[in-house]
């Protein structure tokens, strides 16, 4: 259900959309360029204890403390965030947060026609976080639905067990 919904939202449009592409564990992901505030070299990330699972820690972005989220843990990809080279600062629902990425490739224009709903082969809860799949010249690109992938309510919910450490 959710995949067709996600796809329909984009497929209703004509023309092109701009995405920032980055890589995590060999997979190329894309987020809409409007949601990207900036991309910084990955600073030292201070681990925040007993915070929710997909929160890697916090960083200092020119005097503001921002959480860094870990897509690896959110998507259960495995791997180590310490390999990441950059942090993409994103505008999530009302709040800023970063995600650690292994490399930032480029900003691309993707014709709406080139975006397809996630293939049926992808199953599991993660499929809800995917807006669609774009076929680029040389590779496939997973376009993220950020509001679903990092819905603070949902994250807090899934982390209920962790937080109860008192």
């Amino acid at each position: 259900m959710s995949e067709s919904e996600g796809g329909a939202k984009l497929l209703g449009d004509d023309g092109e959309l701009q995405f920032v592409l980055f890589e995590i564990e060999g997979v190329t992901y894309g987020v809409e360029v409007e949601r990207v505030l900036e991309i910084v070299l990955r600073p030292e990330v201070s681990r925040v204890p007993s915070a929710v699972d997909c929160v890697e820690g916090v960083i200092n972005l020119r005097g503001t403390v921002l959480p860094v989220l870990d897509l690896r843990r959110r998507f259960r990809l495995g791997g180590d965030a310490a390999r990441a080279t950059h942090v993409v600062i994103l505008q999530l629902q009302g709040a800023l947060a970063g995600i650690s990425v292994d490399g930032v490739s480029q900003v691309v224009r993707i014709p709406v026609a080139a975006i397809e709903p996630p293939p049926a082969a992808i199953t599991g809860p993660q499929v809800r976080y995917i807006e669609g799949i774009a076929k680029l010249e040389t590779k496939l690109c997973v376009l993220l639905d950020l509001d679903r992938a990092f819905d603070p309510g949902e994250i807090a919910l899934t982390a209920g067990g962790d937080q109860d450490g008192r």
């Binding site: 600073p43 030292e44 201070s46 681990r47 925040v48 204890p49 007993s50 915070a51 929710v52 929160v55 916090v58 960083i59 200092n60 020119r62 005097g63 503001t64 403390v65 921002l66 959480p67 999530l92 009302g94 709040a95 800023l96 947060a97 990092f150 603070p152 937080q163 450490g165 008192r166």
Partner: protein, 647 residues
Amino acid sequence: MAGDGGWTLTDDDRQLFLAEAEEMVQALEEGALALERGGENPEMLQAMFRAAHTLKGNSGLVGEAGIAAHMHNMEALLDDLRGGRVAVTPALVQQVLSGIDSLREMLAQFAQGGSPVEAAPVAATAAPVEAPLAAQPAPLAPGQAMPRYIVHLAIDAACPMPAVRVFQAYQAISRLGPLERTDPPQEHLAQFEGRSATVVLRLGHPEDVKEALSGIDEIQLESVQAESVASPAATAGQAGQAGPQAAEAEREAAAQTVRVRVELLDHLMNLVGELVLDRTRIADLVSRLDGGKDQESEELRQELSRSSLHLGRVTLDLQETIMKARMLPIEHLFRRFPRLVRDLGAKSGKRVQLEIYGQDTELDRMVMDELGDPLTHILRNAVDHGIESPEKRLAAGKPEQGRIILRAATEEGYVVVDVADDGGGIDAEAVKRTAISRGVLTPEQAERLSMHEAQELLFAPGFSTSEEVTEISGRGVGLDAVRASLERLSGVVDLSTEPGQGTTFRLRIPLTLAIMRALMVRTGDAIYALPLGSVRQIVRLGKDNVQTAHGRPLLADRGKLIGLRSLAQIYDAPDSGEDAFAVVVGAGDRQVALKVAALLGEQEIVLKSFGDFLGAVPGLTGATILGNGELALVADVRYFLRGKEAS
């Protein structure tokens, strides 16, 4: 203002008037208290204005000219407030409050059937009256067939709104022909207070003017003259208005202060934080510069070094100045309490005197806002449960009048607020009984409780201090809410009580939420900041002072055993096993020793939240940015003092 309105009043009328008046007084008082809290908003000012206005109208109707005049003054003041012509100052709120008090007295007198009361000289800040405007002759239209006439109008001396009457007259006359010139000019009518007006227009039948004006009250046609007859221009009333200079002075004083949103100050603070970092980097670069190669580069290096030092001093100064901008004397908060205590005492039939000390203690504005509710609650408790009834007090050999002392003082980056009553104290046994009856404790558990632990029960959720729930303290709101509020401020609330002698609540709140002094420690892979206010002592760990009892590590210090925990473990960090020190932190009489690897010294830190996305993280109040740009986590000491290991 007509006092003898000619209405006859029945008893029902008086009752209706008084009932409605009471509502208005309440609305005004609520509004005034909100103003005092700095929580005014346009709707509230509008509601206050409406209340004053309605009461003015009603009192006029019952022939209470005194009350009506009083309300007129108050209305004018509120009008200035809502129009932004007057700033909310402590003095002004006081003015409104005492105005309400006088009003109450007047109403009480009226209720007793007393003679019409006189207006008390309060709330006399009259609205600044606009200066009369000069007449503005409009260019005359080119010659027309009909002759031009000058119409002189006179307005009754008693007419309260001459501008409206004049406008009605202009409107009526204009039906006879276009008005070529008027004095006062139409566009300035709103400010008109004069008693005469002039209209110039071309007329076929000048006698029609009288007929046109016949439906308008309070205005007389003085003359209609053909233009050829010279006539002195009627001037608008120029009566000097009392008090414009005073009003001007008030406006000027208000202009010397501006209201700044706290978020703006927070942003400035962040920017200063960046400056500090840049300063550190520059200083670092200077130290790495290899001077001395030649005269010129050595001079440049020294110059740069001096500039960098100066930048550091200025930055520090800037930081302190911004902090000061956020501070207000705690008087802003305390000011509402005398009335609260008086009213509560009156309601419960107790005589209570509130003594206030340390009103000029300064506190962060945001902290102060948060402190209002818990303090109100504690004061309510003191009046309601602390102070005994006059009979009980006399029987115990105490003065009939109870005393509550509210005291504020600054201590090492903290503000300490004491609320001390000389009432009956807290009966630990009664507390235990209540706890048992509510199923909080078994009788056996209660038996083992220390006096202090029994007192701690008062802060348990839903626990009320009174055996009978009274109207004043209300239901379901207990000291747990007070403690929760204090914890939000990184503050602490404790109580000490002496049966028969009274109870003292002590609140310790950081001076500001944003800046605090902290002991920086390192353990595992991270640096932590421990708020200095909670640090009791530092002990080097050795074989002789670490013990184990029931599998729990303990720190033996001068004959006392203190629970010992690894800071790294508390925060789920890898314990490197190199902890060499214990930092004893505490609040009230709970304390715990924390193992850390290294002490990095004291430092002033700027507390930053984790941001909206993460919100509150248990055990941490936030993070702070160190001089090298790295982050340190700021420990919430209260969090691990609640744990079982604390003793």
